[in-house]
């Protein structure tokens, strides 16, 4: 596995954010300061989770990183190169998988490949591999409406990986799933990450989920949105569900939760 890699590799940063600020133009003239002077560096191959109460700017951060939103100020470097706008080196997973209902599972996964005019023969082979990896091979030619929520979300993850991005961004990908499916998906994501070597940024409302999956947990607070804590999670890989009951795990969760005792807006 990649225990050694994920915890020691210093290497160059995959993602380097400095002074990132976002102000939404608002009716009142001054608008909403959603992100204020955010600095964050992520090493190649690292898995980081971002937690914070509703409205602290997590989605805003992700939308700027994926090029959907313009930033007001600041600099973003991806693998050393400055980023401006959408970038094929980034893959994005939404809370709702946003599959296109007129396309089969395979065709949905191929969408970024078509958009980027990649070689479709190679992309098809890769799509089949990804589908196999998430255990959906019997559903390769099914339409999204024939899949459960968890299966659809797995298709969404395959789609984010089809163009082999270096950075995978996920905005509460499992928020809509029931607890059991969520645990399964967590393990699956851990497996995908371990075997693919991607750098992952996962936004979640669940502190245990954040700790369970991440090498580092970033804690944000609102008004204005900024980073207040950055916690290295040194639990060994590969992680198992039993680790939820270890004292170290509890220690991490408690430290994160302390930030929100006054806010009280995060899930248990």
């Amino acid at each position: 596995m990649r225990d050694a890699l994920s915890q020691t590799a210093p290497g160059p940063d995959m993602l380097a954010i400095s002074g990132l600020t976002k102000r939404y133009a608002g009716r009142g003239g001054e608008g909403v300061l959603a992100l204020s002077d955010v600095d964050l560096s992520i090493a190649r191959g690292q898995f980081i989770s971002v937690v914070g109460p509703s409205g602290c700017g997590k989605s805003t951060l992700l939308k700027i990183l994926s090029g959907i939103l313009e930033r007001s100020a600041g600099e973003i470097r991806l693998d050393g190169r400055p980023m401006s706008g959408p970038d094929p080196r980034v893959g994005l997973v939404f809370q709702a998988p946003q599959l296109l209902p007129w396309l089969t599972v395979t065709e949905n996964i191929l969408v970024p490949a078509r958009v980027q005019k990649l070689d479709l023969r190679a992309a098809r082979a890769r799509a089949a591999e990804l589908i196999e990896m998430v255990g959906l091979t019997p559903f390769a030619t099914s339409y999204p409406r024939e899949l459960s929520g968890g299966m659809q979300q797995r298709v969404g993850i395959c789609r984010a990986l089809i163009h082999d991005p270096e950075l995978l961004l996920m905005d509460e990908p499992f928020g809509a799933l029931d607890a059991m499916t969520r645990e399964t998906m967590n393990n699956e994501l851990q497996r995908i990450w371990a075997s693919s070597g991607k750098t992952v940024m996962l936004i979640t409302h669940s502190i245990p989920e954040a700790v369970y999956l991440a090498d580092r947990v970033i804690v944000m607070t609102p008004r204005p949105g900024r980073i207040v804590d950055d916690i290295a999670v040194d639990l060994p890989r590969a992680r198992t569900l039993e680790m939820h009951n270890t004292p170290e795990f509890g220690r991490h969760v408690a430290r994160i939760r302390r930030h929100f005792n006054s806010e009280g807006t995060l899930d248990a």
Binding site: P86, L92, Q98, L100, V111
Partner: protein
């Protein structure tokens, strides 16, 4: 009950009801001695219809009217969809042009028919223009609304994958507009039949509307009813064509309760 049996039973019920209505109609006209020029009996209408279908002049009129309907519908539908795409995709165009669209929308298009006939003459051209104008607006309005119905997150998903404006349009927005475009086509095809006939009423030398006026003028009311029957048959067939294209092309939307039940 099997699905097949149920369909058969339904058809039988419809036929029985239709037969009862026609019998009642025939009996009432005969019983109360209603003159044929006020209300003809179903049997005399049937006779007129058979006569009509056997005469070559009828087919000349049929071809004229069908040509007007299809040409007008085609022009109006394509024009409405194209302008709908322009207005639906560009906020500036939307802001500038949509007020005019609404203003024209509320205007009863048949009221312009006399002017069009004056401008374009008694031939097929004037009817094609009137029909096109009538077919234009349902497509325009439905295309604009349909394009705006695409979920923002699906568009963002494509944008994040570095999609161009054109790719976002044809991979997501136009697809989402299709169900509404087909609703527009269905409205437009039925209105197109009305448009062609109204145009012919205003001034024409051929066509089924012209034929109705001729029959009416000669107190051939059974003949008028026979043409009306043909017109509704045309309407039903055209509607059916649009509807079956709709279910075939927009296959990812559940079309009605019947589908879900089956």
């Amino acid at each position: 009950m099997s699905r097949h049996r149920r369909t058969a039973t339904n058809a039988l019920q419809h036929l029985l009801l239709l037969a009862a209505i026609l019998l009642l109609w025939e009996a009432a006209v005969r019983l109360f001695d209603v003159p044929q020029i006020v209300l003809p009996t179903p049997s005399s209408i049937l006779q007129a219809l058979i006569g009509l279908l056997g005469s070559s002049t009828f087919y000349r009129h049929l071809v004229v009217t069908l040509g007007e309907i299809l040409a007008g519908f085609g022009l109006g539908a394509v024009g409405g969809t194209v302008l709908g795409v322009v207005i639906g995709l560009s906020p500036t165009m939307y802001r500038l042009l949509f007020p005019y669209v609404v203003a024209f929308e509320t205007m009863p298009k048949v009221a312009i028919a006399p002017i069009i006939v004056v401008w374009a003459g008694y031939g097929m051209t004037s009817k094609v223009i009137i029909t096109a104008l009538i077919a234009f607006f349902p497509l325009l309005a439905n295309t604009v609304m349909g394009l705006r119905s695409a979920p923002r997150e699906q568009i963002e998903m494509l944008v994040a994958a570095t999609a161009s404006r054109w790719q976002v349009f044809h991979m997501v927005q136009f697809r989402h507009a299709l169900p509404q475009i087909f609703t527009g086509l269905d409205i437009a095809i039925v209105l197109s039949v009305i448009g062609a006939i109204v145009g012919e009423f205003v001034g024409a030398r051929a066509g089924l509307g012209y034929l109705i006026l001729q029959y009416n003028f000669n107190f051939n009311i059974a003949g008028t009813f026979a043409v009306l029957f043909i017109l509704s048959a045309i309407g039903i067939v055209l509607h059916w064509i649009v509807a079956s294209l709709h279910t075939r092309i927009v296959f990812w939307v559940e079309h009605d309760a019947l589908h879900r039940e089956a």
